[in-house]
């Protein structure tokens, strides 16, 4: 069996608060295999976004402290990367899809120029063709119009699909997606999850999919880690965790979902499955 694409062992992230440090991530270990979709499920304050930000090397060094026994991406030790090495990794081998695409896009730059900047060493004509085909793969029938559009001219779903097209343009090995569909309508959510899944299956892309929505996790992810207050309380195959959750917190999360309960039952008093 080949080595996992990403190995994380005992990851800790602490943020400065006044004179002391508070741990947002407190000893988290997991692997992601090549082509695997790993779901990271948790609520506010669970440390799921801090984990993602650490894996992207985007935590401000003075305000945050990252340590790990191992943080290995594709055979490289991520804890020893220089900023220059991060620049060649981030956005190319490790891509990111954030929750709010509007804040990730430059409001006065057309989509085409965003996509041009991702491929600096490629001839304009080829870069344009690659951008158009990436948009087409994300379900845009008329990519030329999208390339000419400013972010504000697109709907929320279109922006998120354009951002995914950008994230996947450099054919990354790992996509870190932080609640990429939370703000979207259900029909658009379903469409975007399909796009992420088909890309992962077709291109062997690995995905770390961060979500608070267990239904979405069930739909998309091969394996899950369930996080709470900076630690992993449970991990395993998605079907096993959801059919036979071992940890009380996972059971409480499942019981809290209105879609799984008879109408008008009290969700906080439901017997854990």
């Amino acid at each position: 069996m080949s080595a996992p694409l990403l190995q994380v062992a005992d990851l800790r992230v602490a943020f400065r608060s006044g004179q002391s440090w508070s741990h947002a991530v407190d000893g988290v270990s997991f692997d992601i295999a090549r082509g695997e979709i790993l779901g990271c499920v948790g609520e506010s304050g669970s440390g799921k976004s801090a984990t993602a930000t650490a894996l992207l090397g985007l935590l401000p060094p003075r305000a945050a402290r990252v340590s790990a026994d191992a943080l290995v991406f594709d055979g490289r030790d991520m804890t020893r990367l220089s900023e220059k090495e991060w620049l060649s990794l981030r956005g190319r081998e490790v891509a990111f899809a954030p929750q709010d695409p509007m804040s990730a896009l430059n409001p006065i730059m057309r989509i085409g120029r965003h996509m041009r900047l991702i491929q600096p060493r490629i001839a304009p004509r080829e870069a344009h063709a690659a951008a158009a085909s990436a948009l087409q793969r994300m379900g845009f029938a008329d990519p030329e119009t999208i390339l000419r559009a400013y972010p504000f001219q697109l709907s929320g779903g279109q922006r998120q699909r354009a951002l995914l097209a950008m994230a996947l343009l450099a054919k990354p090995k790992l996509l870190i997606a932080d609640e990429p569909t939370t703000a979207l309508d259900v029909t658009v959510q379903a469409q975007i999850l399909d796009l992420i899944e088909s890309t992962a299956r077709a291109d062997g892309l690995s995905v770390l999919f961060i979500t608070h929505n267990l239904g979405v996790a069930q739909r998309l992810c091969d394996r899950l880690i369930v996080m709470r207050t900076g630690t992993i309380v449970e991990s395993g195959a998605t079907s096993e965790i959801l059919s036979a959750p071992q940890h009380a917190y996972t059971r409480a999360l499942l019981a809290a979902l209105p879609g799984a309960a008879p109408p008008r039952t009290r969700l906080t008093q439901r017997a854990a499955p």
């Binding site: 506010s44 309508d185 929505n213 809290a256 009290r266």
Partner: protein, 257 residues
């Protein structure tokens, strides 16, 4: 037939500068003690419908009735009793609570405005309302920024209930909350509705939440109600293609056990 607690009849609303109507001949009836869900995607008109019911937006045509009595389309021309009887809770409690006010003052603002209680009694009233929301008196003097999202939403709910409404409109009340906090708020809503015999209008894009609370559902798209019926009909036997697509997409994102 008894009059509906809240009835909207043939509402047409086009926002200034727009040609496409936000609401295009929309009617909605909410029986006494009934919980009616309004679902739809962004831009479908569901929040506009709430705004017209509350008199916050003025429709070009159509009427709003409360227990059979026609309401003025303008919130300022409604009587205090009418204002009390129809209340709303919005999605973002941080935006609907004054950040400089302590909780007790926000909760009793409606009572104070209508001169319904003496100032000395307001704190006690606020404390009783917070207790109904499963919050202790320790929260009375806190400011909104000292509360979690779920606590803020419970304060917003306490404020709406302070004036003893008959009908409560909830516009995406749990969309910004974690699932475990959403569960607490949904439980509270059910308790309050049953205890007070409230009529509810639940506006949400989350079909699971609406199905959990509501017995009747209206599906909106592009300013129209495309389908309305019992929750069972809408979910198990949708008639319109759009309802089928919406229910289908939601089912794929919802947990299967």
């Amino acid at each position: 037939m008894t009059a509906a607690a809240l009835a909207l009849e043939h509402i047409r609303l086009t926002y200034r500068g727009r040609t496409k109507p936000a609401l295009d001949d929309v009617s909605l009836h909410v029986g006494v003690g009934e919980c009616v869900g309004v679902v739809g995607e962004s831009g479908s008109g569901k929040s506009s419908l709430a705004a017209v019911a509350l008199g916050l937006e003025t429709a070009q045509s159509g009427d709003v009735f409360l227990h059979g009595k026609k309401l003025s389309p303008h919130v300022r021309r409604r009587t205090p009793a009418q204002l009390n009887a129809l209340q709303i809770v919005f999605q973002d409690p941080a935006a609907s609570l004054d950040p400089t006010w302590p909780v007790w003052r926000s909760v009793t603002e409606g009572l104070a405005l209508r001169g319904a209680a003496r100032p000395a009694g307001l704190r006690a009233t606020a404390e009783a309302l917070l207790a109904e929301m499963a919050m202790s008196g320790a929260f009375l003097d806190r400011k909104p920024h000292e509360l979690s999202g779920g606590q803020r939403q419970r304060v917003a709910l306490a404020r709406a209930l302070a004036v003893k409404p008959d009908v409560l409109v909830l516009d995406e009340p749990t969309s910004a909350l974690d699932v475990s906090v959403q569960a607490q708020v949904l439980d509270l809503l059910l308790d309050v509705q049953e205890r007070r015999g409230l009529s509810l209008v639940m506006i949400s894009h989350d079909l699971d939440v609406v199905r959990h609370l509501c017995t009747r559902i209206a599906v909106m798209r592009d300013g129209r109600v495309v389908e309305a019926g019992s929750a069972d009909e809408i979910f198990s036997d949708p008639k319109q293609d759009y309802t089928r697509a919406l229910v289908g997409a939601a089912a794929r994102l919802s947990i299967r056990r």
